[in-house]
Symmetry: C2
Subunit: 132 residues, 2 copies
DNA sequence: CTCACTTTTGTAATGATTACATTTTAATTA
DNA sequence: TAATTAAAATGTAATCATTACAAAAGTGAG
């Protein structure tokens, strides 16, 4: 939990207690949790916690470029890794794994015309343990 | 609209009037429409049309491998192209363009462990006309 | 302490999708 | 052809993640 306030400040985010808790959670759980997962884990130790706060905090993090948001299965998942990489999602159990694949660069003619902000490369399938 | 019944039959789909209409729409509109778009266009010429039918039909098409489903912006979009390719979506106007990029193949060790069913490569950004 | 501002909370609304029961249509059989 | 059965289409209600919005609680400067 140390140094977290520094990181938040570097991204122009005032490090409140809750924001630090949420960021700390993301740092320690790189399995791309959704809002509900984060809420369910933090709620017991923060009895007053509201799910709206989790939403607000994550929106702020995304806006400030601190975390990446990936929409899979009609749900937003949050990833503390901001460098481009790919994902695998098991359509049976929902687990999301990191893949060290860098998405291909766009043709220069598109880069000139469009302003690209994010690239998402996802492989869908069934993981090893779900195949049995 | 000719030959559509053949294509449906080849994919083990009984070519009803509505199924042919939906497929015909997808064939003529490759801009990756969502359910609502398809419904709004077909409803005027088919007064009894139900949105549930559009859902049912598209689910069937996907199940039979006739069309591809891509989830962007919390919405399902349908693509008559089934060969792998990438997409660009403008986050301002929502338009979805095809990109002739083939998503990179997975490392063999993953291919062996997982059963990959679909790959989705999407570039998000702002299109030329929305930048003004 | 007071005031202004930020953060957090609670509740209601939104909107795409799904579940499910009913009605309509098509195909099969007698 | 009429009766029976199966398939397709429809209508309505439920689901559920997300958002909108207003109120409450906390923070920090003067
Ligand atoms: Mn990741
Ligand atoms: Mn496409
Ligand atoms: Zn799995
Ligand atoms: Zn645009």
């Amino acid at each position: 939990m140390n140094g977290i306030d520094q990181i938040l400040r570097q991204h122009d985010i005032k490090p409140s207690y809750l924001r630090m808790k949420v960021f700390d959670y993301l740092k320690q759980h790189m399995d791309h949790p959704d809002v509900d997962k984060i809420y369910k884990v933090l709620a017991p130790e923060i009895p007053t916690l509201s799910k709206t706060t989790i939403y607000n905090t994550l929106h702020l993090f995304v806006e400030k470029g601190l975390v990446t948001e990936l929409i899979l299965n009609h749900q937003k998942h949050y990833d503390i890794r901001t460098i481009p990489h790919a994902h695998f999602q098991c359509t049976a159990c929902g687990q999301i794994d990191d893949l060290e694949i860098i998405p291909p660069a766009l043709d220069p003619k598109y880069v000139a015309a469009w302003q690209i902000n994010q690239v998402q490369l996802t492989y869908f399938g069934v993981c090893a343990s779900c195949q049995k």
